[in-house]
């Protein structure tokens, strides 16, 4: 039990957290902005990973592969959107259906259940290997941080445009948005596409980071993503009011989630309890805003907290 081991392990946790943070930002867009619980992500994360690895194995450039993985993720969002809007299936079910179907799609993309990519032979953008002893501009943490900031900047700009505002309006109050002449179905589909595009990109980075794409890699992604969203809001909610900062808070939330996980492993707690501990961590962070509002706020600020939540 050596504190330096923990400190040494933290960069890895930060890198993993940042990569998942991109997926979490995607989940934030559906869950918070559009007010849809989108379960497509459990499948689209794997799709992103599979597409990226297969593209790279067939000799494509890493950036092209990432772009195509993002586009593939957007397609999965499009499918969920069409199921939801055009076919009238409830959002949560549409997501589950797409996720289910993606298992077969991902299997066909890779041709098998698990495809490795050798870090020594391919020029990967991020890898578990590139955390220590590399030149600083190849460091995974820096690379993913730059990508995250870039994405946040683009999203901040986009949600400020007329189209982006209509998307936010759809999530806030669908009826009102429709009354204003916004095509809410289009907004929902677009939101789902953006969200799953980000998740696909995250999956692509993740598969490079861990050195393989696996058919099971997306399993439970929605839980990790929601955990990141909720932890980010619970910890930074009071300070970060601006939309861009809120997105960054989500990425931080993801890092905190992996910090906790790393500490649990460092403490040598029985790893059989890992899933239970994850559930407890998420439950506690979910409860914090509720308790704060219920027991610790003065009556005057009570209203404000409620509207924010």
């Amino acid at each position: 039990m050596n504190i330096f081991n923990l400190i040494n392990a933290l960069p890895g946790a930060v890198a993993q957290g940042l990569i998942w943070g991109i997926a979490a930002i995607g989940i934030y867009i559906t869950y918070r902005v559009l007010d849809i619980a989108d379960l497509t992500v459990d499948g689209s994360l794997g799709t992103g990973g599979a597409v990226c690895i297969v593209m790279m194995l067939s000799g494509h450039n890493v950036y092209v592969s990432l772009l195509v993985a993002t586009l593939a993720g957007m397609c999965t969002g499009l499918v969920t959107g069409i199921l939801h809007t055009f076919m009238g299936i409830p959002a949560i079910l549409s997501g589950i259906l797409t996720q289910l179907g993606l298992y077969s799609v991902n299997l066909k993309i890779m041709g098998k259940s698990n495809q490795a990519i050798n870090v020594d032979k391919f020029d990967l953008l991020v890898s578990l290997r590139y955390i220590r002893d590399v030149v600083f501009y190849k460091n995974t943490i820096l690379v993913v941080l730059v990508i995250t900031l870039l994405l946040v900047a683009i999203l901040y700009w986009f949600f400020g445009t007329e189209l982006g505002c209509s998307l936010r309006a759809t999530g806030c109050n669908g009826n009102m948005a429709r009354a204003q002449g916004i095509n809410t179905n289009f907004s929902k589909v677009l939101g789902l596409m953006i969200s799953n595009g980000l998740v696909g990109l995250s999956g692509a980075l993740l598969s490079q980071y861990q050195g393989f794409a696996d058919i099971q890699m997306g399993r439970g992604a929605i839980v990790i993503g929601l955990a990141a969203v909720i932890i980010g809001e619970a910890v930074f909610g009071k300070v970060f009011k601006n939309f861009a900062l809120k997105l960054i808070a989500v990425a931080f939330g993801s890092i905190i989630y992996y910090f906790v996980l790393q500490i649990v492993i460092w403490l040598g707690i029985d790893t059989n309890l890992l899933k239970l501990l994850s559930a407890i961590v998420v439950a506690i962070f979910l409860a914090i805003p509720y308790w704060k509002a219920k027991y610790f706020s003065k009556p005057a600020s009570k209203k404000e907290v409620k509207t924010n939540a």
Binding site: F4, N8, A9, G12
Partner: protein, 315 residues
């Protein structure tokens, strides 16, 4: 303010304690990353630990972690090992090995319960030695002998159903290879893949109705669900299994390897690397030292199969 200062003092105290614990201990630390709780993988880990403890006694300390069948957690665990700078990593099952290979090219990595290292690590023209910092043991039982076993026990059968989980790369490799041997022997093979434990009953019911005999490779999902398979197949159709656990649950016969043995062999490799300074990059992948033909008396009787000589009954 006072409170804050107290907390700060406390924190500094804790960090000093951490420093005190930092003094380098004599001996070796070995990190073990196992994919999932599972009788076969547990046996391999146990064999590995026994071999090391026999050779090194108290000088070896194990840091044993289980990823709960979540490949992302493998990365987290391995990252922890690399930052602790353990002397050796033992990766039990394919995703654990892949995560370890991505994490370090310095710390020696020994894999076990991995069927095909070339497939697992994306190496073309795999020659039997991985090179670099990786070696280990394979759980592959000779697949041609398993195909022979089908012929020996079911001479009248024509159609063989291959039942496996589509999420497992190892299983895919085995059924592909076995299908090759069986087709060459004149059998017709059909694949029956299920995606998780929820599909098993539907897929196996179909397979049992359409085929004359079934084959199940060393598939983790099948191994965890032998009860369902047995309920469908008992007395109706015979199953040749890739490993003893599956055979004991629902199979008629198997060509068995002992996961304890391959774990033990991995442990011996670890001893060579740690104490004798053996070069891991030159160590070829090792296979199970012996194979035993085994049969399940209860299920053979239910089907009225006469077992030839040379088979051992599973207890």
């Amino acid at each position: 303010m006072k409170m804050k200062r107290k907390i700060a003092t406390l924190l500094v105290g804790v960090m000093c304690l951490g420093l005190a614990g930092c003094a380098k201990k004599e001996g070796y630390t070995v990190g073990i990353c196992q994919l999932v709780e599972h009788p076969a993988l547990d046996a391999a880990t146990q064999g590995f630990k026994d071999a090391l403890t026999e050779a090194l006694g108290d000088k070896v300390v194990f840091d044993e972690q289980n990823a709960q069948n979540d490949s992302n957690t493998c990365s987290t665990i391995v990252n922890n090992f690399v930052s602790k700078n353990v002397d050796l990593i033992m990766a039990n099952a394919t995703p654990a090995l892949q995560a370890a290979a991505a994490a370090t090219n310095k710390i020696p990595i020994l894999g076990t319960s991995v069927t095909e290292y070339g497939v697992a690590l994306g190496i073309d023209n795999f020659s039997g030695t991985v090179g670099g910092n990786i070696s280990g043991t394979s759980d592959l039982a000779p697949l041609n002998e398993q195909a022979d076993m089908v012929k020996e026990l079911f001479p009248d059968a024509k159609n063989v159903g291959l039942v496996y989980c589509s999420a497992e790369a190892n299983s895919q490799y085995q059924v592909d290879t076995v299908a090759g041997y069986l087709t060459a022997m004149g059998y017709t093979c059909k694949y029956y893949a299920f995606s998780d434990s929820n599909d098993i009953s539907t897929v196996v019911t179909n397979a049992a109705a359409e085929m004359d005999v079934l084959y199940i490779p060393t598939d983790n999902t099948a191994a965890n669900n032998t009860e369902i398979i047995n309920n469908i197949c008992k007395g109706k159709i015979g199953i040749v299994a890739g490993e003893e656990g599956i055979c004991a649950g629902c199979g008629v016969a198997t060509l068995s390897i002992s996961y304890y043995d391959i774990g033990y062999a991995t442990g011996k490799m670890a001893v060579k690397i740690l104490t004798e300074g053996a070069d891991i990059s030159k160590m070829p992948i090792e296979y199970a030292p012996k194979f035993t033909k085994k049969y399940n008396p209860e299920l053979c009787e239910a089907l009225g199969i006469k077992i030839p000589d040379g088979y051992e009954a599973i207890q």
